[in-house]
Each structure stands twice: as structure tokens, then as C-alpha cells.
């Protein structure tokens, strides 16, 4: 952007902190920062530009996130806010921060294990998933999957063998 004035310092830091602290609409115990979907924030010529990436392409909550970011920055005195979609690189569950993982577990949702990293043909998986998922209630890792899909795209359902509690697990992707 030639000719524009990029702002660094307190205004940029404040804008970044406000955008990052917006709660996720579907997992409101996590912020956009915790979830790792806030890609970049810049301030130039009085306009705050915020880059968000979708967790899944069909994520229906992206519009709400956009509006919340604009509203919260507006309430903090940033009158002009532009939100844009960032598609590459795609979001991965590895982008959930350590703080985000702690908050998930505290809310009874098991955080994801490391996502598969591969190039070339994707191997076919014909057996049951062999994840070792730790129960967020009692800490036992003797859980079994009860359903590979659940109420939101990002979670599967598990049940703990030790304490018998059912719980959700954020899938690695």
C-alpha cells in the first residue's frame, strides 16, 4: 500500500487485542485468538483491517464473527473496520493455542491431538480411529469413540471407560 500510513505501536496493539478477544460463537469459552483463526490485523489511514480464516469451509458462524469484530472494535473507537477472509494456508486444529486447549479441557471438551501432516495421496482408513483421547473429567485415557461426527463440524463424541462420562473431542484436522 504505497502512500498509506501504516500504524504501529499502541493503536495496533489495542486493535489486535480487541479483535483477538472476540469469543467464538460456537465455543464461546474460546476467543478468536485461542482458536487460531485471527490471521492478521493492521491499521492504516484510520482503517483497521482484520484477516479471519474459517475453521471449516461450511462454517456458518463466520458472519457472526465478522460482525462481532466490527462491533467490538467500533465500541473501542475504531470507526472504520474492514474484515477479510484469508483462505491460505487452511486452518488446522494445531492452530489452537495452549491457552485454548486448557480452556477446552476445563469446559469438558477434550482438545485435539496433532493433525496429520502429509503430502501426496491421502491414505484410506478402514478401521476404527485409534486415537488415545484423555477424558477431560477424570484424566483416564481409556475412552472409546461413540460417534465420529457431532453437533458441530469440529467435534466427535467419546465416552470414558473409567468414569463412564460422555464427552466431546475436538477432531484433529
Amino acid at each position: 500500500m504505497t502512500g498509506s500510513t501504516q500504524v504501529r505501536g499502541p493503536d495496533l496493539e489495542r486493535a489486535r487485542a480487541i479483535a483477538g478477544s472476540v469469543p467464538d460463537p460456537e465455543l464461546p469459552m474460546l476467543t478468536l485468538d485461542d482458536l487460531g483463526i485471527l490471521r492478521d490485523v493492521s491499521v492504516a489511514d484510520g482503517v483497521v483491517e482484520v484477516g479471519l480464516t474459517p475453521t471449516y469451509l461450511g462454517c456458518p458462524a463466520l458472519a457472526e464473527m465478522r460482525r462481532d469484530v466490527v462491533d467490538r472494535l467500533g465500541a473501542a473507537g475504531f470507526a472504520q473496520v474492514r474484515v477479510r477472509t484469508v483462505l491460505a494456508p487452511p486452518w488446522s486444529s494445531d492452530d489452537i493455542t495452549p491457552a485454548g486447549r486448557r480452556k477446552l479441557a476445563a469446559a469438558g471438551i477434550a482438545p485435539p491431538g496433532p493433525a496429520p501432516r502429509r503430502t501426496g495421496p491421502v491414505p484410506l482408513s478402514l478401521g476404527p480411529s485409534r486415537r488415545l483421547v484423555q477424558c477431560p473429567q477424570c484424566g483416564s485415557d481409556t475412552s472409546t469413540q461413540t460417534a465420529a461426527f457431532s453437533a458441530t463440524a469440529c467435534k466427535a463424541l467419546y465416552r470414558c471407560q473409567a468414569c463412564a462420562e460422555p464427552f466431546e473431542y475436538v477432531k484433529e484436522i
Binding site: E26, T31, P60, T85, L87, A88, K103, A106, A107
Partner: protein, 291 residues
């Protein structure tokens, strides 16, 4: 801002919009660079995006028809998740099509205001299944084929196609696994479920010839490094189906590699009309309505 639990977060007194997801969500490509790669026409790229977008839109619609009708709640949730992923892919691809083809059409214009001859999906995805075995066999064929194409499209010279493909690969991976695992369970199940699954495999492979036949446009765009060439994915589909049928104890299937393009050229069966009648009825009855 952090919260000790979800209830504290949702009762916090701010005017956030958390309760009506999916309403008023326009322009999934907001702020994404619109540039068309050099050496490629916008109309070619737009039509190719329509092909991939229509596959996803039509398949998603057929999956949605199973909601409230699936054999178990878990399967209904699974099919809804797969349908939502595909709808997300369709939204970006159709938005991209309207962005580059010079018409400025929106995703809704493509979904609601085209006739069946303007749809570019392969006929495989438009046929309705009244049998769960037939559904998972069709989903296996479609997701294995689409995954193989998307793996290659990650390297497309069109940045939007490449990004959608990179994201789509991780989604299609679990779609294919879901369908494949069901085909194994049904094939390796009772005599009844095995017979149904074998019949479904025969039916789906008989109409899959067009999946491996390129239109001139696809050749052109593949040469330009933008599209994935469909004949290149034959071996991968053969090996996926071989692994699944072997594990399921089913007879190996023969794929038809001598087919010609049909749906890609707008030539569809009557099944697509039935889909569009329902899909487009509300938009066409209330011209100009938004949601």
C-alpha cells in the same frame, strides 16, 4: 477476554451476534484477491469453478434429504456434517465463478436462477438413493474421486482454487473414510446387506464413466496448470475401491474408462429437475427475497 465456563461467556452483556448462525452470511470470498492467473480466460475458469461447485451443491442437497430419515441419529449427524462441508465448498466455488466469469453473479444466482441445462455437475451426484447401502456407495465413489482431484488442485495456478482444494482435502478425507467404513460393514455384514451393497456398487460403477472423461475446457485448463486432469486420477480410484471391496469381502469392481462427458456439458437425467424444483422453489416464489 476469558471465561471460566460457557455459561458465563454467553450471558456476558455485550451485543454480540451469537444466536442466529448462517443468516445474512453473504460473500464467502470477502476481501480475497480476485486476480485470474495469466494465460487463462475468466469464462473458462468460471465454468470450471461451476463444475466443481455444482458437484458439491447437488451432492449436498441429496445428503440433506436424508435428514430425519437416516437409520440412526449418529448417521444423520454424519450426513449433515458432510452435507455442510460440501455446501461450504460449493459456496466458495460458485462465488469464485461469478467473480471471474464477467457476469458478477452471486452464489445465490447460480443456485436458484439457472435451469438444469446450465448445471455442470456430474450425473453421479444427482440420482436419489432410497437405500442406505446405495447412498454410502455413491458417497464413496464421489468423495474418493473428488479427493483425488482436490489433492492435485492444491497446486493449481488459481490461488482461490488451490486454497479451496487445500482446505477441502482434509474434509473429503473423512467423508471418504466414513463412506468406505460403511461399505466394509455392510459388505461384510448379513447376506441381505452384502447383496444390497454389491448391487449398489454395480449400479454406481455403471454410471461412473463420465467421471474419467475430460471436456475440452478441462483439457485446456489442465494444460494451463489450473485444472486437475480427470484421467490422471484413475489409478487412485481403482486402488481405493480395490482396498474397500477386498476388506468387505465383495467382488472387485470394473470401472468404465471409456465414458464421455455428460453432466459437465449440461446433459442431465430427470433427477436433477426434481432437485431444482425443490431447491429453487422458495427463491423463485419470492423474487428478490434475501435470507
Amino acid at each position: 477476554m476469558g471465561f471460566d465456563n460457557a455459561y458465563e461467556a454467553i450471558t456476558e452483556e455485550v451485543d454480540d451476534h451469537r444466536w442466529a448462525f448462517g443468516t445474512g452470511f453473504a460473500d464467502p470470498l470477502l476481501g480475497v484477491d480476485e486476480a485470474v492467473p495469466p494465460g487463462v480466460t475468466g469464462s473458462d475458469l468460471g465454468e470450471y469453478c461451476q463444475m466443481l461447485g455444482d458437484d458439491a451443491l447437488v451432492c449436498s442437497h441429496r445428503l440433506q434429504e436424508w435428514l430425519t430419515r437416516a437409520p440412526e441419529l449418529e448417521e444423520e449427524t454424519a450426513l449433515a456434517n458432510v452435507a455442510l462441508d460440501l455446501l461450504g465448498q460449493a459456496r466458495l466455488l460458485l462465488s469464485r465463478a461469478g467473480q471471474v466469469d464477467g457476469t458478477g453473479r452471486s452464489e445465490d444466482d447460480f443456485a436458484y436462477w439457472r435451469g438444469p441445462e446450465e448445471f455442470r455437475n456430474v450425473c453421479l451426484v444427482e440420482v436419489a438413493d432410497d437405500d442406505f447401502a446405495a447412498l454410502v456407495v455413491r458417497l464413496l465413489m464421489f468423495s474418493a474421486w473428488r479427493l483425488a482431484l482436490f489433492e492435485r488442485l492444491r497446486g493449481s495456478r488459481d490461488a482461490v482454487l488451490a486454497a479451496v482444494a487445500a482446505k477441502g482435502v482434509s474434509e473429503l478425507t473423512y467423508h471418504r473414510d466414513y463412506a468406505a467404513q460403511w461399505v466394509v460393514r455392510l459388505g461384510d455384514g448379513t447376506d441381505f446387506s452384502r447383496a444390497r451393497t454389491a448391487a449398489a456398487l454395480a449400479e454406481v460403477t455403471a454410471v461412473s464413466g463420465e467421471l474419467f472423461a475430460s471436456t475440452d475446457l478441462e483439457w485446456r485448463l489442465a494444460d494451463a496448470g489450473v485444472a486437475a486432469e480427470v484421467s490422471a486420477v484413475r489409478d487412485e480410484i481403482v486402488s481405493v475401491l480395490q482396498a474397500v471391496t477386498e476388506q468387505a469381502g465383495l467382488e472387485p469392481v470394473e470401472l468404465d474408462f471409456d465414458g464421455v462427458p455428460s453432466g459437465r456439458l449440461g446433459v442431465h437425467g430427470p433427477a436433477l429437475n426434481a432437485i431444482l424444483e425443490e431447491l429453487q422453489s422458495v427463491a423463485r416464489a419470492h423474487h428478490g427475497a434475501t435470507w
